[in-house]
Amino acid sequence: MKGPLEKNIEQQLAGFEIEPSPHIWTEVEKNLHPHRKDRGVFWWWVLLLGVTVVAVFFWKADQLNLTPKKDIILRKTLPKANTVQLMPSGYPIKDLKPAQIKKAGMESILTRKTHLIIVPYPKEPEVLPVDNEQTNLLIKGQQPLVTQTAIQAKSGGISDEKTYLAVKDQTGKNTVKKQDSSVISKDTILKKQPFTLKITPFQKSKWFFTADAGTVYIKGTNLFHSSVNNPAYTGANATTGGAQQIFTTSPQTGFQLTAGLRYHKILSKQFSAETGLQYHYIQNKQYTGNKDITGMYYLPGNSLLLTNHAHILELPVFIKMYLNPDKANPIYLLTGISAEWLFQKKWLITDYTMNNYYYDPSSIKNLQLKLSGGVGIQFKNDINAVIKISQGISPVYQKNNLNQFKQEYSAGLLIPLQHPIHKAITK
């Protein structure tokens, strides 16, 4: 292609040099070796503070006396979780501790914050008036035998062939009823033999397996910076006189998966906390043009579809606020903060200034923080369903002073690893 004119010019220009200003190197060096220490220290302090607050909260939860006495009885004397107490026949109720009782074949009669005290069937029971305030079943000559909470009363109380509920019938007479509401005579009751119950304590904390899935976006905005300070999006820059601008080839919607373990602790009637460790995977597709002449940069365009992905370890801390804790299936609001460590990633950096894309793993921040909020429901069997939105508050990467943040939308389940229904009461 080169003719004599071109060769002539090339020869004449050989060795043409201009000495650059000294500040150019200073700027290059500043860009290559940014001083990130100050910002790093800040985020570590935030993380440390968060962990400390949660730790203190867990540690002091019992002493904060956040729980209304009406619902949690004798909370300070709760036996340790998972222990089994064998209660002898005729055991006085006053000596019983709040406990969670499950019997094989019975539907769960307890909810998250209810406590049931049950005693063996007495040899000669006598039904006494039901105390409407306390909804206690009293038997003459004994201490109170069955204590019900309001929630249990609503769900029909406790009753099976060996456990009876004293209620007032339509005439105002006290009767003993079975679960199916059929009235049992005193004689029938007397025929029953004493029995023993295994009582498992009410669990204030529990482990869950969690899994969720949803969508993910990497955006130049976050909750705290609502406008995009990017010249490519605005005014005359929106068109380029034929050259395709990078914003016309924005990333496709990505997906995310999460799986891990959560530790759940009840703090009070209305609040509980969760933490754990989760594996998190995010991926999206992105259209670009071909590589440029250097082979390092992708031009704007739609000729290639590249995949970005990242593997993440996540340490979340959530606080749950129950809107209707007395219901059988309470609904709650969820808020929390997560620290994320991106241990493997391949993500295209978008350079709006140079109007191209490139891979630069060193530009992706390994440690990130995100805020989450959502709503969930806790079913009777302790399975939770949650819808959640998360917003990164530290950038995934920064290019030309434009921070790129992660936004996630997900739905998932929490499945208890210690399911109460498996704890059987044996005779």
């Binding site: 080169k2 220009l13 070796h33 034929g242 082979g295």
Partner: protein
């Protein structure tokens, strides 16, 4: 320190090595950037951005290649991206039609100082200047530039011919051309 060792040290992030590499190529590369831009300040912006790219991607440099040529490619690419991005260049790119010149196949001999020749080339409108630099000086083929310039081969070829013709006119105006056509080149398209 030889080039290979210098590159290794730069990849490790050693500031001294990076500065040495910068010193070795900065002046030469600023000369390249200057040919594409409208002023020295713009050329220095391109140089700065180009060197950041160089250091960030040095691991991708294949040691069997020539480092200077590799850096030069990055500078040229950075210059083109810079031109595409900035409004004052875009204006010229969009006003392409204004600068139509008849195709010239002359091959005059140029007798002028290097700096004057550079300034004459820089007088070309931006689209012509870019294409002329890429083809006549950097040695790119027409089809290599299609993706980069987002033009088809015919457009690039015609724009190059017009750029070449306008440059000859400028050179003639400055009375720096001796001779007319080189023998054997008449009718050949560049």
């Amino acid at each position: 320190m030889n080039t290979q060792e210098l590159v290794k040290q730069c990849i490790k992030g050693k500031k001294e090595a990076q500065y040495q590499l910068y010193q070795q190529y900065a002046a030469q590369m600023l000369g390249v950037c200057y040919r594409y831009t409208q002023c020295l300040e713009d050329a220095e912006d391109v140089l700065q951005e180009g060197f950041i790219k160089v250091f960030r991607n040095l691991a991708q440099f294949k040691s069997e290649g020539e480092l200077g040529a590799w850096i030069r490619k990055i500078m040229v690419n950075t210059a083109i991206s810079y031109i595409k991005k900035h409004n004052r260049y875009k204006k010229d790119l969009q006003a392409d039609e204004i600068y139509l010149h008849p195709v010239s196949e002359e091959n005059p001999e140029i007798k002028m100082e290097m700096k004057d020749l550079i300034e004459t080339i820089r007088q070309l409108p931006d689209p012509y200047k870019v294409i002329f630099n890429l083809i006549a000086i950097e040695g790119y083929q027409y089809d290599e530039l299609c993706d980069l310039l987002e033009m088809n081969v015919n457009t690039i070829r015609s724009q190059y011919s017009r750029a070449r013709a306008q440059l000859i006119q400028l050179l003639k105006r400055n009375d720096t051309i001796t001779g007319d056509n080189y023998e054997g080149t008449a009718g050949k398209k560049y």
